[in-house]
Assembly symmetry: D2
Homo-oligomer: 364 residues x 4
C-alpha cells in the first residue's frame, strides 16, 4: 500500500514552469557536438567544464547545463517560481517534509541567482529559483534559425516506482494532472502534470527510480522534427533515434525520442494543447489502448520502457534505484503476455497477442 | 543462372508513365469507404461493381479502378504511351516475346480507349493505352482539398523472384534504373525504374512473385502524410498502418505504407527527386546498410517483406507464385542471422546482431 | 491629456482568458456558409437566429456566437474567469467604476451560466463568466480535421482612441503588456495585452472607437493558413482576403486577415511565443519600423487601419464612435507624408517616402 | 503584325531542361553574401572573379554562375541537351536561322564541356551543352540542409515585346506551352513553356526586351519559402522582398520574388504540377482575372511589371531594349484605367476600378 508523502502545512511555492535541467556528461566535447552541432541549441556561455544552452525563444540564461563529470546523471530539475519570496517558500516547504535542502544565494549554475536545491521525497534533485540573467531572446533571429530549430524547453519526465504517491506529492506542490494511463485494476502507469498552460511541466513514468526518463524541447512545426531525423541519418547516427517520430495519444503532440552520447534521452515535441482553464478536462487512457503512446499504433521499443538516467543527490552521488512493484506497462502490453487493442469493443479471441485490431507485425 | 528475357527486334513502345492500376476487391462498399472516405480519392464514375478514382491533379479518367470480385488481386498495371501508334508497338513487342496479348479498341476500363493487355514475361498483367477521356483537373479546387490530399499517382511496385531478369526486361522496354539494392556477392534485392522524371514508375522487389507489392500516391508535403496517420488513428484503424511514416534511403521520399480492407498495400509518398537527365546518376545501396529502406534506421516490419497481392492473368485467374531462390533481403538483414550497419566503417565484433551502430532495440 | 480610468479599491476579477465573442450578423445563412463551410468552425448548437461555434480543441460550449440582427456589430467580448466567485468580483469591480452592468444567472448565451455583462470605461461590452457546459473536445478527431483547421480562439483586438488610457485600465484589470508600438514623441499606437500565456488575449489598436478590429483563431501550422487563402481563391472570394498572409513583427505570429460577409474582420494566426513568466520582456516597436506590422515589410492596406466593427451597448444599440486625436499610425507611416524605415541606422535623405530601405514599390 | 521567326528545315536540338544561368554582378562579395549566406546555394568552385553555385539536389557542376563585371546583366540562359550530338544540332539550327553562334569545345564556364552560345532571334544569349562534370548530389546531406533550402533550378523567365512571336519560335525549338495569359482581343501577355515535366523551363513575359525577368529555384515545401522571408526580415533586407509570398494562379506554385544586390530578380518556387503527358491540357487565363498572377488576389507591385535585367550579346555588350507595342498587362489591370475581376459573372457597374469583386483596398 502506498505510503503517501504528507501534505505540509506551509503553502507550496508558486511554480511558474520547468526552466532548466543540469546534466552530467562524461565527454563534454562529444556532448557539445550533439547538442550544439546536431540539435542547434544556442550557447549562452561555456567554459572548460560546463556549457550553458538555451532554446531559440528563451530569455532566461539557460534551459540546459552540460557539466563534465565521471558518471552520466542528472544533477537538477530546475523550476522557476513566481517571485524571490517563493524560493523561501520552497525551502520551508521541503524542510517541513524533512527533505535535505541546500540554499545558495548566488545560485548553483551561472546566470541563476538565489536558489534552493532539495532531495525531494521521490529522491529527485529539484531546484527552485526566480532570479536569472536575461539574455537575448532569439525569437526573430531567423538568420540563426536551423531547419530543426528547438524553440522552447517543454517538459521533464521522471521515472518513479509508485506513480500515485508521486502524483499526490506533485499535486500538493501545485501541479495539475492533464492526462494519465491506468488499468481497470486501478494501477496507474503514468501521469502528466503541469504548471504552465501546456500538457505538462513534468510527467511521472512508472518504473525503477528515481531516474530521469527524458527532457523535452519544442519545435514550431512537425517538419522541424522530421529534419532532425533526416540530419541524424545524414550524420550516420540514426542508431541514436530511439523511438518515433510519431503522434502521441497522450498529449496529442508530435514527438521524437533521441539519445545523447551518454544515453540521456531527449524528446523533441510539438503541438500539444492549452490546459490553462481551471476545469481543464483530465484524459485517462487505458493501458491496453494500443494508441495511447503512439496514436498510429506503432510499437514502443523496449529500451524506452527500461532505460533511463541516474539522478544525483546533493553531494553529487547517484541516488539508489528502487524497483517498481506495481505491474509494468511493458509487461502488460508487449509480447506474448501483454494485451493491447486498437478497437476496444471488438471481441478478442483471447487476452493474448492475437487481440483483434492490434498491430502485431510491427511488434515482433 | 538467370534465364534472361530475349530483346525483341521491334522497337519498344514509348511509355510516358504509370497511369492507373485496376484492382479486384472483395467488398466494394468497404473499399469505397477506405479509398474515398478515408483517403479522399475523387470518384470520376462508379456503378454497382466498379469505382473509378483519380487523384487531385490528374486529368485522365482514373488512376485506380476498384472492381468487385471473388479474390483480391491486381487485374492490370496500366501505362500510358506517347501516341495511339505506340499501342500497336506494344502489341507487336509482346507478340514477338511470345506473350499472350489482348487488344480492345474500346478499352478494358471506362474512360480509356484503344488498349492492349499482356501477360508479360514476369507474369504481370501490363496494359498500354493512349486514348483517354479528359476529366476536370482538380489542381486548384482547394475547396475540395483535404488535409491528407493525394495529388498524383506516383508508381507501382512489383514482387518478382529474379530481379536482374526483370530489370533487364524493363530496361529493354525503355525504363531506366535510378536506384538499386545489392550485396557484395552480386545479389540484387530490388531496383527502381522510371520513364517519367521521378525516381520510378515501377520498382522490382525481390521475392515470391509475380505479386503486387504496392501502388503509391503522392501528396504535396510531409504533413499531408502525417494527417493520414492521424486520421487512421481517429478512425481506430491504426492497425492498417503497416510501416512508417519515415524517410526512405532509396528515393529520399517521405513515405507511409497502409493496407486496404483486402490487404492491398498503398504507399503515400512525397518529395523524391528529378531524374530526367540522360546521365542521371544511379544510386546503389548495400543491402546491409541499415538506412537504405528507412533513412532513420527504423526497422522494416516482416509483413512488408512477406505479404503482397496476387496478380491475375488475362482470363482473370490468379497467376501462380514462384519462389525466390536468391537470398532474401529480410533474412540477410533482420534478426539473429541478419547483418546490418549504420556506420559502414566501424568494426563490428561479428557479422551478427551486435553490429556496431545497428538499431537493435527497435528491431526486437 | 489623458483622463485615466480610476483604479477600483476592490480586487480585479481573476481572468483566465478570452473565451468567446458574440457578433451580430445581418444574414445568418451567408455567415454560416462563411464560418462553417469555408472556415470549418464546428457547430455546437444552432437555431433559427443563432449559431454557436467552437474551434477544434475547445471544450467550453462555444468561441463564437453568430446572432441574426439588423446591424452588423459586436454584442460581447467574453472572458472566462477562474471561479464562480470571480463573476461577483467582476460585477463589483465595474460597479465601483460606475459602469452599467447586467447580471444573468442563466447566462446571456446558451451553454454559459452565471455571467455579468458591462459597458466598460472604453465603451466595450465585456462579459465575465465561469460556468459553461463542457462539450466534446475534438482535438484528436482527425477524421474532422480540415486542411485549414482552426484549433483555438486566440485573441480579440479592439479599436480605441486613447491607447494609454485603455492600457492602464486593462493593466488594472490584470492584463500584462507583451508588446507595444510607440514613437519618439511618446505617442502609443497600439498595445498587446495577455492573461493566458500567449502574446495577447486582447490588443488595443489606436483609432476611432470603441470598435472591434478583429477576432483571431489559431491554426497549428503555417500551411493551414495558406490553405485558407487557397480555398478562398477556389471559391472566388479572394476579395475577402484583406491582408496577408504574412509574418507579424509584433508577436512574431504568422497571420492572415479576412472579412466575413458583414465585414467583421477575422484573423487567422499561428506560432506566437510563451509569455507566462512574471518578468516576460515587453517588446516596444518604433511606429516607423517598416517591419513592425509585417516582418517582411509588406505594406498594410489602408482599410486595415480604417475599417472596424461597431460594438453594442447593453440595450443592443451601437455605441457612438469617438475620433482618435493622437497621431494616426496610417498617416505617420503610409504615403507621401509618412515615414518608415527598414534599416534604422541608414541615413535617409529626408523624412519622406524616399527613406532608405523602405519598400516603396509595394506601397505605391 | 507579327514578323514570325522562320521554322528551320534542320531538326531542333533535343533539349532536356534549363540548366544554369550566368549573370554578371557588379560586386561579387555582396552577391556572394546574398546567394551563399542568405540563400544558401552551394559553392562548387570559386575564384576571384567567378562563383559557381548549385542547388541541393543538382549533380551537374552548377545552376548559377556569378561573374564580376561592370554592368549587371545576364550572359547566358543555358540548356542541357540530350547528347553531345545535340550540341551540333543546336549550332546548325541557329546557323540556319541566321543567328550569330559561338562554339567552344571546352565550354564557356568551368565544369561544362563542348557548348554553343547563340544570339537568338529574340535577342537572348542562349547556350546549349551536354558535357558537364558530375559533382556530389547533396540530396541526403541533411546536415547541410538549411531552413530555406533551395533544391533545384526550376525555370527562367524572359521579357520580350512580342509574345506570340517568341512563343512560336520556342515551340519550333521543341518547347510546349502549359499556360498563357490572353485577353478577348487576342493579345497574349505571357506564356509558360516547358521541356522537362513541370510547368516551365522558361516563360515569356510581354514587355520591353530582351531582358531577363527572373530565374527561379525550387524548395521542397511552402515553409521553406516563408523562412527565406523571415530570414530577410531578420537581416533587415526586407526591402529586397519584392512580391509575395503567394500562390500563383498560373502554375499553381507557391512563390516569392526577391532582388539580389544588383536588382536581378530571383523567384523561389514550389509545387507546380506534372506536365509530361503529350496532351497535357493548356490553361489559358484571362488577363482581367484578378487571381491569374496571385490566386489570392493580392496585387502585383508595379516594379514587377517594369523592372528586369539587361542581357548580353556574345561580345558581352548589353542588347538594346525594344519597346512592347501590344497592350501592357499592368496598364490593362492596375489602377484607374485597368479592369480586373474576381468573379467573372458578376455585373460590374463599369469597366473600371469599381469592378465587383476586385480587391481595391490592397491595390491603392
Amino acid at each position: 500500500m502506498t505510503n503517501f508523502v504528507p501534505t505540509p502545512t506551509v503553502p507550496a511555492p508558486d511554480i511558474v514552469r520547468c526552466a532548466y535541467m543540469e546534466i552530467v556528461v562524461t565527454d563534454l566535447a562529444k556532448s557539445r557536438e550533439f547538442y550544439v552541432d546536431v540539435l542547434g541549441l544556442h550557447v549562452t556561455e561555456e567554459d572548460e567544464n560546463t556549457i550553458y544552452l538555451r532554446s531559440l525563444e528563451e530569455f532566461i540564461h539557460h534551459n540546459l547545463v552540460l557539466r563534465q563529470g565521471p558518471v552520466a546523471a542528472v544533477a537538477a530539475f530546475a523550476y522557476r517560481v513566481k517571485s524571490p519570496a517563493e524560493v523561501d517558500a520552497a525551502e520551508a516547504y521541503y524542510k517541513e517534509l524533512g527533505c535535505r535542502t541546500e540554499r545558495r544565494k548566488n545560485g548553483f549554475t551561472k546566470g541563476i541567482g538565489d536558489s534552493v536545491r532539495v532531495e525531494d521525497p521521490l529522491g529527485f534533485p529539484y531546484e527552485f529559483f526566480y532570479e536569472t540573467e536575461h539574455v537575448e531572446r532569439l525569437t526573430q533571429r531567423y538568420d540563426l534559425y536551423s531547419a530543426g530549430e528547438l524553440v522552447r524547453l517543454d517538459h521533464f519526465n521522471q521515472v518513479t516506482p509508485d506513480v500515485p504517491r508521486g502524483r499526490a506529492y506533485l499535486e500538493d506542490l501545485g501541479f495539475r494532472v492533464s492526462e494519465d494511463i491506468k488499468d481497470s485494476n486501478g494501477v496507474t502507469y503514468a501521469a502528466w502534470m503541469h504548471r504552465k498552460q501546456t500538457v505538462h511541466d513534468t510527467a511521472l513514468t512508472g518504473g525503477n527510480g528515481p531516474r530521469m526518463h527524458h527532457v523535452a524541447f519544442a519545435t514550431h512545426e512537425k517538419h522541424n522534427i522530421i529534419q532532425i531525423c533526416d540530419k541524424m541519418g545524414a550524420l550516420r547516427i540514426s542508431d541514436r533515434i530511439e523511438r518515433g517520430p510519431g503522434r502521441h495519444g497522450v498529449s496529442n503532440a508530435f514527438y521524437l525520442y533521441i539519445l545523447d552520447p551518454d544515453g540521456h534521452r531527449i524528446e523533441i515535441y510539438t503541438q500539444d494543447y492549452y490546459t490553462g482553464d481551471p476545469d481543464n478536462p483530465t484524459v485517462t487512457w487505458d493501458v491496453h489502448d494500443n494508441q495511447r503512446r503512439d496514436w498510429w499504433g506503432n510499437p514502443v521499443v523496449p529500451s524506452w520502457y527500461t532505460e533511463a538516467s541516474l539522478v544525483l543527490d546533493l553531494d553529487g552521488n547517484p541516488q539508489p534505484v528502487i524497483e517498481r512493484t506495481d505491474a509494468s506497462e511493458m509487461a502488460v502490453t508487449v509480447g506474448a503476455d501483454g494485451f493491447s487493442y486498437t478497437r476496444k469493443d471488438e471481441t478478442s479471441s483471447a487476452a493474448g497477442t492475437d487481440a483483434v485490431g492490434f498491430k502485431l507485425g510491427a511488434q515482433v
